[in-house]
């Protein structure tokens, strides 16, 4: 089979609508913890939409006008929601051992999303244009310098911080999240741990 045919076969299997948008799930998918991923995604959508509005205007707009300040507040609180749900999501995926049965890539993409999310939020805090931003710029410069990132990153250069925050890092984040979701759908939801495993867990056992 040539490369083109192989890719087509792979893509049409992995990205088939049956897999991307299944209308049924295994019966074990019955817990609120499955909503944390979707809630993270929804928060991210609000973060991105409010961010786009703010960058379409200007930094001065969201610091001085009433409407601008409201969008800053929307951005601020949706970021809080994003991190809250992402952390819950990470924790429950850990306790479910969701990397099992060929889902390691899904886990890795999730952790990378977390890491890039943290960096995006940090450059956002540095872009606030207020005292908190100033203070964290001068404080974090020593950390970036000490870590050896000074060759690439200058925490006191607002042009670089802003560019990273509104374009570079969100683009990477969106690609990672999209890939994460495709990986989730490609494999289907991870099955529960088998009832009698080597740890001797019994059916229905509560602790």
């Amino acid at each position: 089979m040539n490369l083109t045919a192989r890719i087509r076969k792979q893509v049409s299997e992995q990205l088939s609508w049956d897999r991307l948008l299944p209308s049924e799930q295994p019966t074990y998918v019955s817990s609120l913890v499955y909503s944390f991923g979707v809630l993270t995604l929804s928060s991210l959508v609000v973060v991105i939409v409010s961010g786009i509005v703010m960058s379409a205007k200007s930094p001065v707009w969201y610091q001085t006008s009433t409407v601008g300040e409201y969008f800053r507040a929307i951005h601020f609180w949706s970021v809080q929601a994003f991190f809250f749900f992402m952390t819950m999501h990470l924790v429950v995926q850990f306790f479910m051992g969701s990397w099992r049965e060929g889902r390691a890539l899904t886990w890795v993409l999730g952790v990378l999303s977390f890491g890039v999310g943290v960096l995006t939020a940090f450059t956002g805090y540095l872009s606030r244009g207020d005292f908190f931003a100033q203070w964290n710029q001068v404080q974090s410069k020593d950390a970036f310098n000490g870590a050896g990132l000074n060759g690439f990153f200058n925490a006191l250069d607002n042009g670089q911080i802003y560019g990273l925050h509104i374009a570079v890092l969100p683009t990477i984040l969106i690609v990672l999240v999209a890939w994460h979701l495709i990986a989730v759908r490609g494999k289907g939801v991870v099955p529960p741990y088998p009832i009698e495993g080597n740890s001797g867990a019994k059916v229905g056992e509560r602790s």
Binding site: E13, S30, S31, L41, W77, M96, N150, D157, V189
Partner: protein
């Protein structure tokens, strides 16, 4: 044909209807409404940025001391090291491992010329102040031993200085032209023009994005005094909480934690140690699926039983049924 495209698990487990799109839309609506309401009620934290002008008004001595430190090379940035200059004062190194020095001086700062001499000569020519122009040339033409003596005298005198009517009053002494220069720097800051004179001009001043020198001038006592009052310094879990009663970036807790405990908070390379410690922990999290022990931890902790309790309860029932009807196990899933 359709069968081949279904999940492998569809063959192993009973299935049920599940409306993913509806769940997604619902979740988006709930989050959007919640965020819009909270944002309208609570707003977002904001404390206006601090300027050199404000500092000059409130603590004139801080401006003069900072400027003198920049001039005589005793200030922390003057001797910082890479990426600002060739000093060694703030170079972090763990047993000779010092990536900070790998890139050389990427963002050069010469504090004496950039922060003091250049802004003051701009001020002298803009205001036609020949006394200041003369003071500058006197200073620059003096032998370095003389410069050092003036600077030292003035530095000592600052400890006995008083602030009267917004200016710094010094005891009599031999400061050469330096006391006048420092007073001029203070006046420049009071006027609000110092920040503009400090900001790096990378392309003829068109893009004034880079506020490095302005912030480096403020970064010492000026900002620390204000930050300390609002519990923002590093040893107060700084970045972890916002400046007002708002949630801060609490997800940085693992990072700030290391700034509270030895050896991270006592080492001169504390930033470097923290960065690499957190980096290592991140890698550990990334590779959880392959780390022996860690990848079996959730199996040993009973939390998964809580998450899948419905499934395990039903499974118990199914197992019982299986005994009665051994054929069931093979026939999972409906026939769609």
């Amino acid at each position: 044909m359709k069968q081949a495209y279904q999940y492998p698990d569809a063959k192993r487990f009973p299935m049920k209807d599940f409306d993913m799109v509806k769940e997604g839309i619902l979740s988006l609506i709930v989050i959007t409404v919640l965020v819009l309401i909270v944002a309208a009620i609570a707003g977002a934290p904001y404390r206006p940025a601090v300027t050199n002008q404000q500092v000059a008004m409130q603590s004139p001595l801080v401006i003069e001391q900072t400027a003198l430190g920049d001039l005589d090379g005793s200030g922390s940035i003057a001797s910082y090291g890479p990426p600002y200059n060739n000093g060694t004062g703030s170079v972090q190194s763990i047993a000779g491992f010092s990536p900070q020095t790998w890139w050389g001086v990427s963002y050069p700062v010469n504090t004496a010329t950039d922060d003091v001499i250049t802004p003051l000569s701009m001020l002298a020519s803009a205001s036609g102040n020949s006394q200041l122009a003369k003071a500058l040339s006197t200073y620059q033409e003096a032998p370095s031993a003389t410069q050092a003596k003036w600077n030292q005298n003035l530095s000592n005198a600052f400890n006995k200085a008083t602030v009267v009517g917004g200016t710094v009053k010094l005891p009599a002494g031999n400061y050469g032209p330096v006391a006048y220069m420092m007073n001029s720097e203070l006046q420049l800051a009071r006027s609000g023009l110092l920040s503009g004179a400090l900001s790096r001009e990378t392309n003829q001043g068109v893009y004034r994005f880079n506020v490095q020198n302005d912030l480096l001038f403020l970064q010492g006592d000026a900002l620390h005094d204000i930050a300390g009052k609002t519990d923002l310094s590093g040893e107060q879990w700084g970045i972890n909480h916002d400046e007002q009663a708002y949630p801060g970036p609490w997800w940085l807790t693992p990072y700030t934690f290391f700034y509270q405990v030895p050896p991270w908070n006592t080492s001169a390379a504390g930033d470097e140690m923290t960065a690499y410690t957190v980096g290592a922990l991140f890698l550990l999290l990334l590779f959880v699926p392959w780390v022996p022990g860690l990848n079996r931890l959730p199996r040993l902790l009973p939390l998964y039983k809580l998450i899948w309790r419905d499934w395990y309860r039903d499974e118990k029932g199914r197992k019982k049924d299986n005994k009665a009807d051994p054929g069931f196990g093979a026939q999972v899933g409906h026939n769609h």
